[in-house]
């Protein structure tokens, strides 16, 4: 790893989309030199020279003439970088006119993933992952959630780009440009229907880290954006980096330390009768969630890029006579939808448009276990 690879000093991170869409301005604090209007020629030049840098990457695809798979390879490289590298970065997250600065620290050491994501200027929330343990600090609710995942899950789970993916998205490299003084490949992932979102990704030539990410709706409008303001790729990150800043005195702790229950083989098996095109079931587990003793069925559907989780819980007795009121929610551009089917509360959550979670949740049905295997694919 070269020194430049280890140390990327990015200087912009202006969440530009935010200003236009929300009518608000939000450049961030960044270390850049003094520039008066008179000095613009230099800056202009640096922008104009966008594709000047060729990179050390052996297979940097040439525009247009590259094989179709090249952009998809960039996606894979990016996924690998995000999941296997050590990094420590500050980025802005823009959605719906709100801009938030966050810090992410990610480490893979001896096969164990540690990750910390902290809101720097808003809620003070933090998310910390230490191997199988996921902890969510919610100072605004004076609550800490601790979820233990099965240890074998530690490095798996995310969808992989494959041929199936390619038939539901148009994946292209649109340009090779400079961003924050780094050479980047700009890859667009455009959905072919309305069931998924698209991405524009500025992927760093030498590290394959996405320096800027835009989530776009079907028409290509930016609805969520992440831009790194600074990023380092340290060889070592100490354990102390993964300690929360939140003081938890007086907080309630909700855990599922009892661990996941045995797979509910004997009970009803849930599956979706129909799925949006390209989605398939990728995982299924029975688990408990922090703060609850009741088991939850967790089904995961994916098209290779986007994924949707469906949680199925038996309604509590006191809820049974409540009218079934479907509810919708959004977390950024991700969606959630909850409804009641056959005495079970069904909740779908995913980084997809609202219609997709609604579609999937309403297609859930309990089946005899025997019928499931034939339908699973």
């Amino acid at each position: 790893m070269s020194a430049s690879e280890r140390f990327i000093a990015l200087t912009l991170a202006w969440t530009v989309a935010g200003a236009a869409l929300a009518g608000e301005a939000s450049p961030e604090r960044t270390p850049v030199g003094e520039t008066s209007p008179e000095s613009t020629p230099a800056q202009k030049t640096s922008l104009d020279q966008a594709p000047a840098h060729k990179t050390s990457l052996e297979s940097a695809p040439a525009q247009k003439t590259s094989p179709e798979s090249a952009p998809a390879q960039w996606l894979e490289r990016m996924n690998r970088a995000l999941t296997t590298r050590n990094y420590d970065g500050t980025f802005s997250h823009w959605h719906g006119g709100q801009v938030e600065m966050l810090r992410i620290i990610h480490r893979v050491q001896d096969g164990t993933v540690s990750e910390r994501l902290a809101s720097l200027d808003g809620s003070g929330r933090e998310f910390i992952r230490a191997g199988p343990s996921l902890t969510c600090y919610l100072p605004d609710k004076r609550t800490v959630l601790v979820e233990q995942r099965p240890p074998q899950e530690s490095l798996v789970g995310f969808p992989a780009v494959n041929d199936q993916t390619a038939s539901f998205y148009d994946i292209r490299e649109v340009t090779h440009t400079r961003l924050n003084r780094r050479s980047t490949h700009v890859i667009t992932v455009s959905p072919k229907d309305e069931y998924r979102y698209g991405y524009r990704l500025w992927i760093d030539d030498s590290t394959a880290m996405p320096l800027k990410t835009q989530l776009c709706d079907r028409r290509g409008h930016v609805i969520e954006q992440i831009v790194f303001a600074s990023l380092t790729l340290p060889a070592h990150i100490p354990d102390s980096a993964f300690k929360p800043d939140v003081s938890t005195a007086g907080f309630q702790w909700l855990r599922n330390e009892s661990g996941p229950p045995a797979p509910a083989a004997a009970t009803l098996a849930w599956n979706a009768m129909r799925l949006p095109p390209g989605f398939r079931m990728a995982a299924r587990s029975a688990q408990t969630l922090p703060g609850s003793a009741d088991p939850v069925d967790h089904l995961v559907f994916t098209d290779g890029l986007a994924s949707v989780s469906v949680f199925v819980e038996a309604q509590r007795r006191e809820q049974a006579d409540q009218p079934a009121v479907p509810e919708s929610a959004a977390v950024g551009s991700s969606s959630a939808f909850s409804t009641v089917i056959d005495g079970h509360k069904i909740t779908a959550v995913g980084e997809v448009p609202p219609d997709t979670v609604r579609f999937i949740a309403s297609q859930l049905k309990a089946e005899e276990p025997a019928a499931v295997s034939s339908r699973r694919r």
Binding site: A17, V32, Q43, L47, T90, D121, V174, R200, A235
Partner: protein
Amino acid sequence: MSADASDLSLVRRVQRGDKGAFDALVLKYQHKLVKLVMRYVRNPAEAEDIAQEAFIKAYRALPQFRGDSAFYTWLYRIAINTAKNAVVSRDRSPIEYDLDRNTEESYDMQGRMKDSETPEGLVLTEEIRSTVNAAIDALPEDLRTAIVLRELEGLSYEEIAAAMACPVGTVRSRIFRAREAIDRRLREVFEGGLGRAEELG
């Protein structure tokens, strides 16, 4: 031209219950206010919090604002007081990440991040600045002179008219056209104009 008529018209609306008009005042002055507060606190996040508090205090106090002074002067005083109180009552030191101490290359980063938290290190981000600057660069000279005299030197239209030897109406039109041209570039960047934003020249 009566000074402050613009702000006053917005203030009067807020006083009559129109909250949307307050948005416009915040949009107009948020940059100045944060910059002002940064004289008292070094942590940008804290400065924003204080600026926010000042705006909210101003909103609540607005019924008492009679327009004896300019709105910004009044807002300025509220912000200064808020910042001073915050500094006095602050009982905990700013949070610092000490995680990077072990890694050599991170020292560098840490150093830079700290630099960025001093007022001297804080500037608009480069992307927005270079977009604006490139757009200004591309302006015809009369438009460029007009907008720079206005925004950088703070001259009134009348003073600019004298300096440029043209009617006031021409100044107004030049400044507007300059803003339009710059704004068009900004919006291209904002609206995710891929390949346009990055290839601005």
